[in-house]
Amino acid sequence: MALNSNPLTSQPAPALAEALADDRRGAAAAEKAAPTPRRPFGRWFRETGWRHIIGIVMLLFCAFPLAYVLSASLNPGGTLLTANSLFSTFDLGAYFRLFENPSQPYGAWFVNTLVIGLATAFGTVLLGALAAYAFSRMRFTGRRFGLLTLLLVQMFPQLLAFVAIFLLMSAIADIFPALGLNSQLGLIMVYLGGALGVNTYLMYGFFNTVPASIDEAAKIDGAGHARIFFTIILRLVAPILAVVGLLSFLATTNDFVIASVVLSDPDKQTLAVGLYQFVSQETARNWSVFAAGAVLAAIIPVALFLALQRFIVGGLTAGSVK
């Protein structure tokens, strides 16, 4: 992956999948436990009640910044100072002002982020699946070497080579301006440089769980390798494709370094770059506008994440082959 791990979660992606899978299994086991008879309050508090107190403290800690930004976005006063009176007003003005300032093209950033994220996710899934199919289904010289090399290459995150990426992109811009510096297509290509690696590993493991007998049956029926891949295998491994695609989308939307290096024109930038520059120029004055931008920007990633959580678990635990 472009960033080699999932920065949204500040953790490596495969581990996330495992963790969520474990989590679900545990929760399922717990739900099956028989209901316990009612206990006296003192005993209840000693055994369970104090856990709720910690839980409530943690809820405040977790939810507070999010509630704060939501409240700030609804405050027409607009500055950092007025944002401190939580939920005192309800005014959607900041959300409209967000789209009105041409020097801060929020709408363009939003669309750019979506387009770049979706294109990168699609490309990552396609390239990763092609490679995983080759590694999983074919036997060729250099196969093990290839797998090991991928493992080694991913130790050197693209993130660290951004100086070279910048210089490479400016050299490409001399020949193909549409693919070089300040080109979104170019940025997508840079992200696709990380399409193999972690993703191929995730997919490779999953591809291996699809029995080879399915391929063989299709082959006997006259299907070629391309048809087997596109019409049979890809459908069977759809859950892992979705997981990789979503992780790649989230990683792309969260990337600042490479996007800021490649894209210089404000109309072409992504939310991460645009909002950072916006807030670093006028933090205190236009805080409610920034807060509105942050709320809108977070909706898709948070929704995807909550949806993705179930999907990862479902995809990795349920067998897709009957």
Binding site: S10, Q11, L130, F256
Partner: protein, 537 residues
Amino acid sequence: MTIPTLDTDDRASDRRADPATEKRRRRAAAFADAASAGWKVWLFKIVALGIVDAMAIYAILVLVVQEQWVIAVAIAVGVVVLNAIYLIPGLLPAKYLAPGLVFLFIFQIFVVLYTVYIAFTNYGSGHNSDKEDAITSLLQQSQTRVEDSATYPVQIATRDGEFFLVVEDPETGDLSVGGNEMPLESISSPEAAGYDVLDFSQILANQAEIGALTVPLDDDLNDGYLRTTDGSNAYLFQSSLEWDPVADTMTDTETGVVYRDIGTGAFTADDGTEILPGWQVWVGGENFVRAVTEESIRGPFIAVLVWTFVFAFLSVATTFVLGLFLAVVFNDPKMKSRKYYRVILILPYAFPAFLSALIWAGMFNQDFGFINQVLLGGASIPWLLDPILAKVAILIVNLWLGFPYMFLVCTGALQSIPDDIQEAGRVDGAGVWQVFRHIKFPLLLVSVAPLLISSFAFNFNNFNIVYMLTNGGPRFADASINVGATDILISMVYKVAFVGANRDYGLASAFSIIIFILVAVISYVSFRQTKVLEELN
């Protein structure tokens, strides 16, 4: 269910088959593939290859014109290999691997190697280009008008979207035309040579470009340039620097100081002063030497290096301790509504990290932020401006961002520990704490340790939180590079390369390589731990 592994026996059976059968089998497979692929696949293949080939040929032509032979040859070889892979039947694995590998080679492997190369050059602002360009721009930027020189009547002409000066010789009245980097050449009339002469309103509309026109008198740049400010009269400008191509020196005609090319990528006087722009040269390990010897870089570099390790370690430690604690607290089947707690607890983890950091930066604001104004009742604590407090703030925010992950991981690990082990401990008389300390914790650590190591490696390069929260500040006062107390290595590299007027790509790349090495060591340790390599074998 058969699970293919690295060493399946189908290869062995292939070897046993006699050559004739094998050949027939391959041909049959090729036929089957061809029959099943269909014309759509072929059409797609031909069109895609055609586009790639056309782009490659264009790129090669441009590179040949620029005399960039190595890259041109590399592209040629690459595109031939790509065509071979898709046009020759068979080579199936390559057909599936090639698309991903192309991007991997260019945007991951090549850029890493290129980083290594840049680290050994003086590339950066002031050293962007080659020597020829540097000489041209030195002579241009040091121009002053030659006093008492003739006035040249001029017209402004345009051709192909560029501007040119049509100059009338003040003595002979002959016409000649010239443009940027195009010395004057005589013509009979501008229209005959294909130029359109601008009228007054067009001149007004393009004042900036016309004012920037510097037309060399002839091929010897030392003879000077013609420039115009009003579009009707031009004057002779000469550089105060004089370039001697034979001796390879620049001489300042006013002070008489001679600047020589001493191999450092800029013309340098005997007393060590350089005139910039210079050009790009190979400087060997000088960037690395600078990083560890030059006092104004070494100090901040060591501080940043130490803080990077401290930050990565404390990030993992704090998130793990809190996550584990919460996992233990919530791991009670009798506790109701754990589900709802869990959803809220993973919210910080679902929220985009760069946004969280920006929001926290607002809350930590010294004068207006929520923490000082409301939580601390109007205090004025410089959370992000004091070196120690800024580090504390970063750790707090990172704790907020990172503990849900550890919570999920630890919950999973705790629940996978079989109950009967704990029961056995209980029966033998161990208390709750002892069971946790001596049974659960060691077992948990076995499954969680690899994740802790990869979490450490991630936080080592956790650019977003540092850059978005404190921007690396407060800045070190004594540093020659733009670095501050909370910068970690990756954000320092970013600032050296891209923030501020003085961009030093060479030094930044040298730092990148140092990070590469550190990351490699960390990853090696983690591989040893996780035994991923052993699994592959």
